[in-house]
C-alpha cells in the first residue's frame, strides 16, 4: 500500500494506539454469541464496538497526519496491511482463551488505557489530546465492568480462582510491552506530545498490583517481556487472514 510512513515517531505512535484498539475489538467480538451469560454476550459485543470506534478515531488522525483521505485510508490500513506491518502489542492478538483469560486481558488492557489516556489528554499535540479525552470517558465503563469480573472470579469459587490465577500467570509477561517505548519516542516525550512510559508503568502498577492482590490473586514474579511492536505472535496472522478475507477477495465489496 502507498503512503505508509514507518519513519515518523508520531505516525508510529498513533498507529500503535489504533491497532491495539482494533485488534482487541476484533477479539472481543469473537465472544458474540458464545459468552457464558447473555449479559456478557451483550457486554462483549458492546466492548468490541467501542474499541473499534476508538480505533477509527485514531486511524483518522493517522490519515490526517499523512495527508491521506480519512474516508478511505483507514480501510486501506486495516484491510491491506501485512501482519508484520501492524503495530499492536501482543497481548491484544492472543486468542480469547477461557472466560477468565478474556476478562483478565480486558482488565489489564483497560487499566493501561485509562492510565495512558488520562496522560494523553494533556498532550501538546491537540488532536491527540482531543481524542484521548473523548475515549477516556467511555473507558470508565470498560474498567468498571472488567474489574468487577476479576474481583468476582478471583474471590469466587476454587475453580474460578484457579482459572483466574492461570490466566494471570500466562498474561503477566505480556504486560511489559505496554511500556516498551518505540523508536524515536524520546522526541515525542521531550516535546510533550506523549507521556514518559516509565512514569506510566509506575502509575499502572500502583493501581493494578494492589487490585489483583485484593482479588485473591498472586502477582507473578516472572520477568515481563520488552518486545518491540514490530514483533508478533503467529496468532495475528490467523486473525488478519480472517478479518481481511472479504477485502482480499473483493476490495470494493459493499456491505
Amino acid at each position: 500500500m502507498t503512503g505508509y510512513k514507518a519513519d515518523s515517531p508520531l505516525y508510529n505512535y498513533l498507529l500503535g494506539l489504533a491497532d491495539d484498539e482494533l485488534i482487541l475489538g476484533h477479539r472481543d467480538s469473537e465472544w458474540c454469541g458464545q459468552a457464558p451469560l447473555l449479559e456478557e454476550d451483550i457486554a462483549f459485543a458492546n466492548l468490541a464496538l467501542d474499541e473499534i470506534g476508538h480505533a477509527s478515531l485514531w486511524y483518522n488522525l493517522v490519515a490526517m497526519l499523512s495527508k491521506q483521505d480519512p474516508t478511505t485510508y483507514p480501510d486501506q490500513l486495516i484491510f491491506t496491511r501485512h501482519p508484520e506491518d501492524y503495530r499492536n502489542i501482543q497481548i491484544v492478538e492472543l486468542p480469547v482463551g477461557d472466560w477468565a483469560y478474556s476478562v483478565l486481558r480486558q482488565y489489564l488492557f483497560d487499566a493501561y488505557e485509562l492510565t495512558h489516556y488520562t496522560k494523553l489528554m494533556q498532550s501538546r499535540y491537540p488532536p491527540m489530546a482531543e481524542v484521548a479525552a473523548k475515549i477516556r470517558n467511555e473507558e470508565i465503563y470498560h474498567i468498571r465492568h472488567s474489574s468487577s469480573w476479576v474481583q468476582r472470579l478471583g474471590k469466587g469459587t476454587a475453580e474460578s480462582q484457579r482459572r483466574m490465577q492461570n490466566a494471570l500467570n500466562e498474561l503477566w509477561p505480556y504486560t511489559g510491552q505496554f511500556f516498551q517505548p518505540m523508536g524515536g519516542n524520546e522526541l515525542l516525550v521531550d516535546s510533550g506530545y506523549v507521556p514518559d512510559s516509565g512514569q506510566l508503568q509506575l502509575n499502572w502498577e500502583g493501581n493494578v498490583v494492589p487490585f489483583l492482590q485484593e482479588s485473591s490473586l498472586e502477582v507473578p514474579l516472572a520477568p515481563r517481556q520488552k518486545l518491540s511492536r514490530e514483533q508478533h505472535t503467529p496468532h495475528l496472522k490467523i486473525l488478519l487472514s480472517e478479518m481481511q478475507s472479504v477485502a482480499r477477495l473483493d476490495y470494493e465489496a459493499g456491505w
Binding site: 449479559e39 459485543a45 464496538l49 482531543e130 470508565i140 465503563y141 468498571r144
Partner: protein, 158 residues
C-alpha cells in the same frame, strides 16, 4: 433558507436508536455555518463507536439538500467531547416517558454520578439495581426496579 430554518430542520432529525428525541435535543449540534446556501453542520458524536452516527450524517445532508442547500457538509468535533449533561430538559422528560431513565447530571465527574441511585422511569422509585453496564445500544445500561418489578434501561452518563 436561514439559520433558524436549519435549526428547525435539524430538530426534526431523530436519533434512529431513540426516535423520540432529536439530535438538537441530544445536544449534538455544535455549530451551523451558512454562506450562500452552502451549509456546514458540526456535530459532536455521542459514543465514538455509535453505528447510528453515519445514518445521522447522511440524514442531515439529505434533508439539507432537499431544503435547497447548494452544498451540505457534516463535520464531527470531539472538543470538548459530547456530554450527556448537554441533553435538554425536554428531552429528559421524553426519555422518561418511553421508559428510558435519563442520565444523571455529572459536570465531568462520571465516576461519582455512577454511584448515585437511578430512578425507575415507571414508578420513580430509587430502589433499583444495575443488571448490566451494557445494553442493546452503546449508550444504554440495563436496570431492574425492585419496587415495581419492571426491567428498564438507562441512558448512561457520559
Amino acid at each position: 433558507m436561514d439559520l433558524n430554518d436549519i435549526w428547525h430542520l435539524l430538530d426534526q432529525i431523530k436519533d434512529p436508536e431513540i426516535p423520540v428525541v432529536s439530535i438538537v435535543e441530544l445536544g449534538m449540534v455544535r455549530e451551523i455555518q451558512l454562506e450562500d446556501q452552502n451549509v456546514v453542520v458540526v456535530l459532536a458524536p455521542t459514543f465514538a463507536g455509535c453505528p447510528a452516527l453515519q445514518v445521522i450524517q447522511e440524514e442531515v445532508a439529505r434533508r439539507l439538500y432537499a431544503s435547497g442547500a447548494g452544498k451540505a457538509e457534516v463535520r464531527f468535533t470531539y472538543m470538548p467531547p459530547w456530554s450527556s449533561d448537554d441533553i435538554t430538559p425536554q428531552a429528559r422528560q421524553k426519555l422518561t416517558a418511553i421508559g428510558l431513565a435519563p442520565p444523571p447530571k455529572h459536570q465531568g465527574f462520571i465516576e461519582l454520578a455512577l454511584l448515585e441511585p437511578v430512578h425507575c422511569p415507571y414508578c420513580g422509585s430509587s430502589n433499583t439495581t444495575i443488571k448490566n453496564s451494557f445494553g442493546p445500544t452503546l449508550c444504554w445500561a440495563i436496570y431492574y426496579c425492585d419496587n415495581c418489578h419492571q426491567p428498564f434501561e438507562q441512558f448512561k452518563p457520559l
